[in-house]
Symmetry: C2
Subunit: 204 residues, 2 copies
């Protein structure tokens, strides 16, 4: 159990290890795209990063830890992006903006997001990360629904539960579409937006 991550904070000059760590994560992302999680071996990652397996285990405790770090890095982006988005008052605009942002996120990070979803069950840490991310989205959707006049509350037909279902709809639809093509993703986005609008009672 290496103590790296605890005190890796600021440092004037970038440590050599930080470069290596980035190289490892980058390679991991590339290999994930090429061969998928199972087929990708620790040796592959090390080789891709230009070091030996042993050296890799100096930075990360296990294969899962590498992927978890990669997911964490990506998820950080999502949060950042979410915060940056201004909260619009008008529900219709808010929905359009949210969907637009989601398309961008999946276009950029679709691969890692899919991997995160796949590993949520088997790697508890990743499950944690992802469910936290989902909660952010669900909260946002809930707010929009309530502003659109949907009754607040936790009953099965009230804002909170509906937001949850809509969130899963978007996740899964984008998950599949992002495997296809950008066009599929765009089309999927339209469909989800449409259902969201209807559910909010904003169109008939």
């Amino acid at each position: 159990m290496p103590s790296h991550h605890s005190a890796r904070s600021r440092r004037a000059t970038e440590r050599k290890g930080d470069v290596r760590e980035r190289a490892i994560l980058d390679t991991c992302e590339a290999l994930l795209a090429q061969k998928g999680y199972d087929a990708m071996t620790v040796g592959d990652i090390a080789q891709g990063a230009g070091i030996t397996r042993g050296a890799l285990y100096f930075y990360f405790g296990s294969k899962q830890e590498v992927v978890t770090a990669l997911v964490a890095r990506t998820v950080e982006h999502l949060w950042e992006r979410s915060r940056a988005t201004a909260q619009t008052d008008e529900p219709r605009q808010a929905i359009a903006a949210a969907m637009q942002r989601t398309v961008e996120l999946w276009n950029e990070h679709g691969l890692v997001m899919r991997t995160a979803i796949d590993l949520s069950l088997t790697v508890p840490e990743i499950g944690e990360l992802w469910s936290h991310t989902a909660d952010l989205f669900i909260t946002a959707i809930t707010a929009v629904l309530e502003r659109a006049g949907i009754q607040a509350g936790t009953g099965p037909e009230q804002a909170s539960a509906m937001a949850r279902a809509l969130c899963w709809m978007i996740e899964r639809t984008f998950y599949h579409a992002s495997q296809e093509s950008r066009e599929a993703l765009q089309k999927a986005s339209s469909t989800c937006e449409h259902i969201w609008l209807i559910s909010a009672g904003l169109i008939t």
Copy 2:
């Protein structure tokens, strides 16, 4: 590559191997519930079924093949059940019936269905089985939507695409709820039904 599955059709008296095969699948299902796919080893399955690893490899070519067979067995049930359901003309009734049936399916086979979904990416055969199953549902949902007056067609806001999104919403919502409890499942069902009804324009 054993030739079992090709000519295993009818036989007056049940072969000993058929019993074993069932025992293997049953054990696999139990272990899946206990430890999950990764933690479950071929040795565990064999032991649970009362045979050695070698014997297991006589019946199945690999760990993945065992799980695939288990998924196939379960999915068979789904299809059967789907066929058995009478097609109602009245959309509201059709939707209620479909959701009711879906709750039952997830109550009975939630574990295997979750595993199927998880392994869809990594095990192509399972992906095939599951996507075929999903197509059945999507077709059924499409039919209901059209009967309720949603415009037919493949555009992003027409019946087919909407049905797909609704299907994924149901799949994912039930996937999560079935990990919680029967009550959660029931509540999730209400929410999904509600959104489906709204999307079909049957309630405001």
